[in-house]
Amino acid sequence: MTSLLWIVVTVLAYAAARMAYDRTRLAVLNPAIVSMAAVIVILLATHTPYAQYERGGRVIGFWLGPAVVALGVPLALQLERVRRNLSAISLALLAGAVTGILVAVLVAHLMGASPIIVRSLAPRSITTPIAIAVTARLGGIPALSAVVSIVSGAVGGFVGVWLLRVSGVRSPLATGLALGAAAHGLGTARAAEEGEVERGSAGLAMGVMGILTALLAPLVVAIALHNAR
């Protein structure tokens, strides 16, 4: 009975946050962050232990697995684009995946973050459901990876295009791939406002980065932390 209650609370919090975002379009009202914050406030206010919430929460969280598989559909729709610039795109995304993991892990390590935090930052650049899975396997805190992935995606969507232009990137293909690679879902949403090439290439970059990061993260984290000691 109580697990049903917490499912309803979570869905209602999400529906309200989504509605607020659709009305205002304010980047700070990110629906995922707002609904998480709302549920946390309700749990604290009602003195509900997380373990009790989780009995309902896991019914929703279960669908993350199928949702990751479902990301294969938009990826397949974008694969056509790879053909013409196959080597440029492969090389850029491979370099991007290694950069995303390495920079996050090394900076956090050098700033004295504890190992469990450092591991949680490895999947920083990828879409949240895959980031959660990667961190669970690395032995980090999946909840932290989720929040870091969402917030950095929102920031990247907000400043990405400006940063690319300032640094001299003008090509639509490069813009889309960079936004999807660095800021996954929200980067892709921002890229879609620039044009069709940007939208498609961002969606492709987001999918490929998710796969490459999942494959490379254990190795890159091990090498980086071994040599940084």
Partner: protein, 83 residues
């Protein structure tokens, strides 16, 4: 992860007609944010481990964001073939 690659490959090779899975996949992806709310709420139980490293987390995440944007953007722009 294996499932994601397998699904993309099955659709790409036309073994699996995309119309079989498109509606269900689009529904899941459209409301993806709802699915990871419970995972994010778990931050509550890890707050004591996270709060001391908030500055390192913020700086590392921003550095990684800027690094990926610039590396991918510039590598593609330099290597792509003209239209």
């Amino acid at each position: 992860m294996v499932g994601l690659i397998a699904l993309a490959a099955l659709i790409e090779t036309r073994i699996l007609p995309i119309e079989f899975v498109r509606a269900a996949a689009e529904l899941l992806v459209r409301h993806l944010a709802l699915l990871y709310v419970p995972a994010g709420v778990a931050l509550l139980t890890y707050w004591s481990a996270v709060r001391h490293d908030l500055l390192a987390i913020t700086v590392a995440a921003l550095a990684s964001l800027v690094g990926v944007l610039l590396v991918v953007g510039h590598v593609v722009q330099r290597l792509e073939r003209d239209e």
